[in-house]
Symmetry: C2
Subunit: 995 residues, 2 copies
């Protein structure tokens, strides 16, 4: 098969700790340096993309000039008209777009954009910002070309400014960086292709997410944003920052990247993202309009101006410069923009009219980038921040830490869908155009890209949407899967299978309500093709529900492979290997049919072990009791069990606050650690045990109650212990909602510290009842110590580090010394009064009694200095897991039963984050150094990758380096410089030196 | 004093039964015929006004052509986008205009007009109608001249069409024709002056008023409207009309005017004034928008089109032509017109798109006049209607007959304000420009004109607004009074008084909550000037609260006048005379100060009488027992008492319906006439009596309870018996709301008939449990027999007619033979669920325990053929009552203490309805023949008036005849001809021939 010639195209580098260099055997077409060395991130684009950028380069100047003049000797009030359009929440994204189901919530984005454009045209002074490209894209494609031209003009003149500009405003606590980068890229690409440079957002704008991840700030910096604004932070943090005038600060968002690469100027908005009290003039508000006709009743101009001046002057007291910002808008506002603008026009006229009368307040229409420009011009120093903004509490008993776990099935479905999307993207590149032609499923990755992009929204994967909206996200993902059957098509076009082959549906059930496999395979002869989306070979246990009692399995070369059938659960298990960015095909034949032999009761084991790990159980309780790493010869005591927490409305504790747990909020009644223990003790957990010992895998099955069970599993080749938990239906016949956790209690001396990842990338240190940047007054001893876990958490002391890799985002904490708890499932009977107006009480057709959720925790015990060498690749294997496809019948033995898209595996430090067809002639590639600078002696070192010799089937004709979001040439990315204040923030030291 | 030269100007004739002819000594400047004889109504305008009309006459053609083409072989569905903007209801008119207090109701008319104009400009096919000039005027004067030009263009092109066009959409049950004509004239004048002929509404549009008065139809016909549409009629009436396809009909609205003068084509809208179910696309609605992007979820075009076709086809079944109308709008809709129009554009496109696929439904943007034009072209005959549409019931137990009486104090304040406004208008003409210059009060009649105009709204004088809005109407009227102190100014400019004179405030308290006089006069020497707004001399009893015990009073010639002091109530009483359209001044001097003599208990009388009437009382009960007319030598038994009705939520009768009485609805629990009697019997009424006999007036004071009393009063010169009732505070400590009536039980053999006026003009016959145009199924024996009484009601048999003239609009009925009952006051504890969302439970600062209301009934006993000769002038004296003003100190005796604006009184048949300055050089005059064609042998005859010799201080230079509303030359008024269906309707016979 001849190699296709591709402009290599969009290459995008994304590093954690290391340095990549790229010797490339060919000149970059547009100023591409041979052997171009990149110290850090950013990227490369195709020529056509570059041309688009060039065409518009003159208008960058226009955009900058579009800011209204300010007055240096006055207090300048920047009014920023905006709408906050959730990409799904109480209604689905398309319901929001059309304004359907206004009985649920009045909101119609099509009308917002219609109206805003109309109103901007009425007065050239007016400004508007738009944020969510998922909606803007829908609207744009319904417009006439003359309307499109009008809007281009507004954008070029800076009257309509895009901020943030991703497909959605992603959640920060429950998203994985891979999917966030994808959704940002999709939105920003649309803006770039539609509007050129003037459409490039200069400001990141996360006004609503419920806490803020450091990794998001790092990504935004690497995407070229000049600054970042948000609305929600801990109420104590805000209070201190107001006093200290530190609501505007410099966020140093990586301890691996050399400043200012991951530095991001960050502004905290004065009133969430709402207008000042009394100044909401949207159709959804009731504030009095400006009544300035003296012939009519209730002339109120003097009153309005007076109230406004008072608010402005008070706000100026808690910010540093003579510029302040006011967000004039809110959720789905500006559907009738005239109401807002008519009154804002008047406000500006009347307030500024007083300047002739010695007033020192100057009000102007503005945008976040114009405001930011003034802050930059002020040339001050800014407080430095190096930790993150989790957890978020809006008052003493209102910690938004429940959504870290809310809707665990949706969270898992989103994560596995990301894996599938990356696979689909890769196969589209590797397979070339035919891969999109069917015949199996057909279509391309666009449906899945959009489904994944909206799923990143801060009321999507966060689990804080209404049930019908959660169903819609899942439906969209399922539709994405349907349109992404590229693997099968590729096998067809490459003659591995013929058109009349029946492909069995991939084993995952495309529904949000459960991740439990229920497909049963009752075939005599079939094949399993395994695609590996990682850039290094993997082995992977395949577990298939079967009816037979004995099978033979052979690999792509016809060599037999060990396999076994577990009669207890009728599963066929065998290990497969797949090459980097490639597949391998295995044949399976039934040897013996019929019922399984009578189940024999195995003796309860006290030990399971392989060549790497030894696991012991307490024979009296059946619980785990210890874990040992046989290679490093380290051992810890390890007990693991399941507990539940409860918010009970009738509990006396509610004298403090009646805030219940809900989709957002976690608020167990227990207000001291003791009560958590006592809650566990009150549960009557009956433990049954069964040991299944085979050569390939050893399992201990544990039942804790009719609705909590677990399989402890140790594969022969694995350095990780797998805990496969099953929780549900959570009983509510006692009228109590329950939040189920598992807790690992160890002998590790943690000293109240533990560690969680930020969006699946860098690790952050957490300490009980402590915040790095302010003196915490802890009011919720459990909920106030929970943090998001996206891919892993660990606890450690000087000698032992226990890392837990999760298969989805979850919330967790370390409340006791040596202990790590993770919330697995939540079933609640109250709404938490944050707008969703539904209790988080999931049921479905399949699970009418309550959702059953299954998931995996992978435990790795290592020496701290080398722990990352294990957990980094382990977590990537969970994030990007092999895609299996099954074919009924015999394969064509003379065809390509095994294939790798790479000439060789990438070095362990390098992760191939993105490989995706950008356009006909170019490909987007993102390579990532996946180790933090301090975490591995071996793997944190710089690495050199030869892009020319990377691919097996692609000829690289050129490469262009872009920023992280692929919407700007890296060498044109000029961000504002900001000077940190001396002596503020935590020192920028590697994590290992702390504690 | 030299006569001012005035173009006479706008003369407007308005006739009931007679014929007026006008010999005029000078040629009409523009085709004015000398000795012009008018057979009926209409009018005259000033030249400048005429020029305006001429300038625009070409655009009349444009307007007509602006209707979209229809398809003769299809069902044409006329979509009429509209908004219904109450001129006050839940919010005040200015709150509605600005969009203030959106917490009460989301509504902002300024935004509606902004938005509609924007949206009309986006697509020339779109149409909109606007109705309420009170709002449009407010908006217009805030617009830039370029926006005004844009709107003129839209009007000229028929894209924005005014319908109705009065200042408001007047109530039909509680308004007086005089005020209705004024408010219509004010609105239509604004439209005419602003837009010329294209701004002239061709259709009357009373979509919301709660029942429809025949006199309104008559006025609309005489104002040149081609047709009339409304939304509310009795549910039984509608059902029959739907079956018979008589929802479109010809209303013959006068039994005195020769057809087609008062013929008005009338259309009943299909769904009130709302869009069809499921097709409301306003921001206030939740119906699904058209989702026509197949790439998004929930594509629903097929479903929408299917539902729409079904509705259209069903609607076509109950109308006569292949044209049907749909009102696409509702209360305060189109604030964001884009929502409506965007979806309507799509609806039209998709529905008409099916025509290529054999569909026979054609949808188009339309207006009521375009629709009407198609009905006219159909050239059919139409059912004839000669009665009215009262009472209105929307279901069996929901009769909207409570509002006939709701807020009786406001209703009286509105009526007396009209009298004051007419006086003010007249004095501005008679006094000339100086009359507006002050120094007493200053200003002009504009404030009062606008206040009166909004007070005509169907949620204003109707009493169906919220309390704070009722207060606002009263406040506006009070402000009108303040700006209308023309009488005092004129006395100053004419040297009757000097600038340093203190004018005492007119005796009426300008508040809605009570009409009770409470001003006490403690002066030694003062004068009383009495202005008479009628075109004939009147005598009038002046009653003044005083502290002294004896006074002398002298007239303008210094002649002493009889006077007396009633010690019981400390009132000085004397009779004054005032010339036509003129004043007379009386001087009053204190003779004796100090406390009144000890009150002596007079003997309870059994008879009071003057030379015209004899009144007897039952000595046991103290109640009236008989009434005799000494001139005609007729006598009837007459008992009068007070009763209350109640809606009791716990009454068993509520099994039928739980509809309570409220601001709109009257629903006493008693469902049979018996129960009314028993309700009266359960009241313990204690009667005290006192007779005051003087030469000038005889009084019997009756106390029925602490909250019901009455003075029976017979003036020496009067042919009418006055019953001055006082009701309130209505007690509610028994938790029962109460509706208070007075009932006159007589020996007249009424045979279940009685008679009420229509808006103060023609009389209509009513019959118990009967409707002239359908077979009534009576479900509310009391409420279903109540009708509006605006100025009078009578009962009669062959020999006796007892006429009761009221001082305000009230509801009443005749439930028993010989009986007439009038509801006086209502205090209710439930809301009646028609939107106002407040119980009608009036209190005020002055009356914290509940409103006290006082009013008068004037009783006249006559022979039926000559009864009108008495009640017509009597009622006019109550409607246009003298205005009194008081001056402290001596007058200048050598000045004009008496004056008449007329050279001579007009003949008794002719009422001077309007005399008002139109512009600098012209005056609007309306003369009215005030007798129905059948009601008086003497006065129903034609009358000739010589306009040239009418005024004492004006030279008439010319006259121009206009339609009733003064917005069209009478000779250019060409209305559509309509052919009545043979054999339908009641024969158009005079009322006397019925019964």
């Amino acid at each position: 098969m001849a190699a296709r010639k591709q402009q290599l195209a969009v290459v995008l580098l994304f590093l954690l700790g290391g340095v990549l260099s790229f010797p490339l055997g060919q000149d970059r077409k547009d100023a591409l340096t041979c052997g171009y060395e990149v110290s850090y991130l950013y990227s490369f684009t195709a020529l056509c993309f570059g041309l688009l950028l060039c065409v518009c380069s003159w208008s960058v100047f226009v955009c900058v000039q579009s800011c209204h003049a300010t007055k240096p000797n006055m207090l300048n009030v920047h009014l920023v008209p905006h709408t906050h359009d959730d990409v799904g929440w109480l209604k689905t994204v398309d319901q929001y777009f059309y304004g359907d189901r206004n009985d649920i919530q009045h909101a119609g984005v099509q009308y917002i954009l219609d109206s805003v454009v109309d109103q901007l045209l009425k007065n050239p002074d007016r400004r508007f910002i738009y944020v969510e490209t998922a909606f803007f894209y829908r609207w744009w494609k319904q417009q006439s070309s003359s309307m499109q031209q009008t809007v281009r003009q507004l954008v070029n003149e800076g009257r309509l400014e895009f901020v943030n500009g991703g497909w959605c405003m992603s959640d920060e606590a429950t998203t994985h960086y891979s999917a966030v980068i994808d959704q940002m890229t999709m939105g920003l690409r649309f803006l770039n292709e539609t509007f050129g440079a003037c459409g490039r957002p200069r400001v990141a704008w996360h006004i609503d997410p419920f806490g803020h991840a450091r990794e998001h700030a790092s990504m935004f910096a690497q995407m070229g944003y000049d600054g970042f604004f948000f609305g929600r932070l801990d109420y104590q943090d805000r209070a201190r920052r107001m006093m200290a005038k530190e609501q505007e600060l410099l966020w140093r968002a990586s301890d691996s990247l050399t400043p200012p690469v991951a530095d991001l100027f960050t502004g905290i908005l004065p009133n969430g993202y709402n207008p000042p009290e009394g100044f909401c003039w949207d159709q959804s508000c009731d504030d009095p309009p400006i009544r300035d006709d003296p012939d009519l009743e209730d002339y109120n101009v003097d009153d309005v101006v007076k109230r406004f001046m008072a608010i402005a002057e008070n706000q100026a007291l808690v910010y540093k410069t003579n510029h302040i910002i006011m967000t004039m808008g809110s959720d789905f506002q500006y559907e009738n923009a005239n109401l807002w603008y008519k009154n804002l026009d008047k406000l500006i006229r009347y307030v500024n009219g007083l300047q002739s009368n010695s007033s020192k307040v100057n009000v102007l229409y503005s945008t976040p980038s114009c405001y930011l420009q003034e802050l930059h011009r002020a040339n001050l120093t800014w407080a430095l921040k190096t930790d993150d903004f989790f957890p978020y509490a809006d008052s003493a008993h209102d910690f938004w830490t429940g959504y870290f776990t809310s809707r665990p099935a949706l969270k898992r479905y989103e994560r596995i869908s990301n894996s599938n999307l990356q696979t689909c993207n890769q196969l589209e590149v590797l397979g070339g155009p035919v891969s999109r032609k069917g015949p199996f499923g057909g279509g391309d990755s666009q449906t899945m890209k959009k489904a994944m992009a909206v799923a990143q929204h801060h009321d999507a994967v966060s689990g804080t949407e209404k049930q019908h909206v959660a169903n819609d996200y899942a439906r969209k993902l399922a539709s994405g899967w349907q349109h992404c059957q590229v693997f099968q098509s590729l096998l067809f076009w490459w003659d591995v299978v013929s058109e009349h082959f029946t492909f069995l549906r991939t084993l995952y059930i495309p529904t949000l309500v459960s991740m439990i496999l229920s497909v049963s395979v009752a075939l005599i002869q079939f094949s399993v093709s395994v695609y590996n989306p990682l850039a290094r070979p993997v082995t992977w246990p395949v577990r298939l529900p079967v009816n037979g009692t004995a099978y033979t399995v052979s690999d792509a070369n016809g060599k037999p492979v060990d396999c076994q059938v577990s009669f207890a659960v009728n599963e066929l298990v065998f290990q497969v290997q797949a090459p980097p960015l490639g597949y391998s095909t295995y044949s399976v034949s039934l040897l013996q049919d019929g019922s399984p032999p009578t189940s024999t009761q195995h003796r309860t084991p006290t030990v399971i072990q392989n060549k790497f790990l030894k696991v012991t159980f307490d024979p009296d309780t059946g619980l785990l009791s210890s874990l040992s790493n046989l290679e490093t010869q380290q051992s810890i005591k390890l007990t693991q069990n399941f507990y539940w927490l409860v918010y009970n409305a009738s509990d006396g504790n509610n004298s403090l606050s009646i805030q219940p747990s809900g989709a957002y909020i976690f608020r167990p009644n227990s207000s001291t650690p003791f009560i958590i223990s006592s809650t566990a003790q009150t549960e009557s957990i009956q433990v049954r045990r069964e040991l299944v010992i085979y050569t390939l895998v050893q399992e201990v099955r544990q039942w804790f109650s009719p609705w909590v069970s677990q399989v402890v599993r140790l594969y022969a080749d694995s350095r990780a212990l797998e805990l496969e938990w099953t929780v549900g239906p959570v009983p509510i016949d006692d009228s109590l909602g329950k939040e189920v956790i598992t807790r690992l209690d160890t002998s590790i001396q943690t000293g109240e510290y533990f560690y969680t990842d930020s969006n699946g990338r860098e690790m952050l240190q957490r300490k009980k009842d402590f915040r790095p940047t302010w003196q915490l007054k802890q009011s919720e001893p459990i909920a106030g110590n929970y943090y998001p876990i996206n891919s892993r958490a660990f606890i450690k002391d000087d000698v032992d580090q226990l890392t837990v890799v999760t298969d989805r985002s979850q919330g967790g904490g370390s409340i006791h010394n040596g202990s790590l708890e993770i919330m697995l499932h939540r079933r609640l009977l109250y709404d938490d009064v944050r707008g969703v107006a539904e209790p988080l009480n999931e049921t479905s057709d399949i699970f009418p009694e309550g959702l059953v959720v299954r998931g995996r925790l992978l435990l790795s015990l290592d020496r701290p200095p080398s722990a990352a060498d294990a957990h980094r690749p382990l977590a990537q294997e969970v994030v990007l897991q092999p895609l299996l496809t099954f074919t009924d019948g015999d394969l064509n033995p003379n065809t390509r039963l095994e294939f790798s898209g790479l000439q060789a595996a990438l070095p362990p430090a390098v992760h191939l984050l993105t490989l995706s067809q950008w356009d006909k002639d170019s490909v987007l590639l993102r390579l990532e150094h996946q180790f933090q600078s301090w975490e591995s002696k071996v793997n944190s070192q710089p690495v050199t990758v030869n892009l020319q010799k990377l691919f097996s089937t692609l000829d690289v004709l050129g490469m262009s380096e872009l920023n992280l979001s692929a919407n700007q040439w890296k060498d044109e990315m000029k961000r504002f410089d900001w000077t940190p204040q001396k002596g503020t923030g935590r020192p920028n030291l590697p994590l290992t030196s702390l504690q």
